[in-house]
Amino acid sequence: MDAEHTWIMNTSPKAVTETETDSYYEAHKKIYPREVKGRFATLRNLSVWVLLGLFYGMAWLHWNGRQAVLFDLPARKFYIFGLTLWPQDFIYLSWLLIIAALSLFFFTAVGGRLWCGYACPQTVWTEAFLWMERITEGDRSRRMKLDRAPWSLEKFARKSAKQALWIGFSVWTGFTFVGYFTDIHTLGLEVLGFNLGPWETFWILFYGFATYGNAGFLREQVCKYMCPYARFQSAMFDRDTLIITYDAERGEPRGSRKRGEDAKQRGLGACTDCTMCVQVCPTGIDIRKGLQYECIACAMCIDACDTVMDKMDYPRGLIRYTTQNSLEHKQAHVLRPRVIIYATLLALLTAGFIVSLALRKPVALDVIHDRNTLYRMTDDGEAENVYQLKIMNKDERPRRFHVTVSGSEDLKLEPENVFFDVGSGEVYNGAVRVRREAYEHTGQETIRFTITADDDPNLSASAESRFFAPTH
């Protein structure tokens, strides 16, 4: 680790506050972020609309007569559009989580905390809650004034309106969340009919309360103290990672000046010290002090500063997305070992995921030899073994499966033709008997069962087991 790296790596809140209070936690100051307009604010608003739209809308989407995305926990089935996943497919979920983690690493290495700034639910819901705060309590200075003012009818009305919006939105969020786990239409009818189950009620209120607390009150504290990603994201950073930074070389010495005044003559840099970048910051930091672990890379300070630069007729970009290398006038590298390794792993895992999902067989077979008797001798002098077949039909429709067995030549099923009807999503348990001459020299052997769908010869599954016979 090079020395320059340590200022990014030193991300523990303890390092920041310990000297003053010997505590892991800073005294909390309420932050009143100022509203900002600009390129990145527009991008984030777009992201908020799309992501919230997906969350609230997708639950109501239908696909082949059922909810399109439903993690049906009571039935232990996950529906994702045309795909049905069973607990046996848990590997896909884990695989998907690994892909998600690796994407996060990749995007962090290339673009810094893009996730935090634009896509994290904490950011997205906080933006929505801030919007509700703005329409009820007004802009930044009005909100600060309102909080300072003694209680009045207006203050009460504004605060109540905000709370009403927040609580309503939170409960709706909780309802939607639970609607991804039990059918949302049924859930809606239950709510309307006041006959919601106790656990559904609990989880709606639980999730609603979490939304209200996180987006309404905790806000930046979630990022600063609670988020695990915020703690380790700096490990993915290097000198070519995009960061939001203040160009001190151009900005300093900062100072106020009149519009049109020659800053050079007064020995001033480009920073007018208007503090807009501080006022818009949702985590309440001053980006001019350098990169700080609290910075969630929301780019609001870029928009704020660009607006001021435009007004002053200065070039934009005093605060901008850049890399440490290019800030120091060094060669920037987009393709570097870290990025190439993340990208390769990500591509391989994603390709593997898609292929294995496409090749996933909608039928599975498990064979268990009868536990009580190894074999039984029939009156004809044949050895007979009994097996339990567990057939799982993961398909969307019922199937009839034909059972065959292979091993030594005279191995046969008893009766010869065995069919099992297995409903959609059913795990069927069926017993079969297998017989063979009891040869003296071969006692036991490995045999293979195969089940084939009656109406589709390509749909089959097989499993092995042991056949036992006397050896004396």
Partner: protein
């Protein structure tokens, strides 16, 4: 967005009452939060491997919920003991 008035960076800091939580409350929330995270993972892993339906005289939803709360309590106990150990003088 008019940069008309002089900087008031510390407006918020000075003019809002500072709210600092007492130590025990902080420990409580840290323990609750970390154990919540781990309990969520444990619940998913546990019920992906085991179907509670044959074992419990409960609906699956209830079994999952109790399972989660159980994991949360167990994880919280571990985290609480850890926090207590770390706070013990002399450590």
């Amino acid at each position: 967005m008019e940069p008309e008035r002089r900087p008031q960076i510390s407006d918020a800091a000075e003019e809002t009452a500072q709210r600092e939580l007492p130590g025990a409350v902080r420990v409580f929330f840290t323990v609750a939060w970390c154990s919540f995270l781990v309990a969520s993972v444990a619940t998913v892993l546990c019920f992906a491997l085991v179907d509670p339906a044959p074992f419990a005289d409960l609906s699956r939803t209830a079994a999952y919920s109790f399972g989660f709360l159980f994991f949360w309590v167990v994880c919280a106990m571990s985290a609480a003991v850890t926090a207590w150990m770390l706070n013990t003088p002399g450590s």
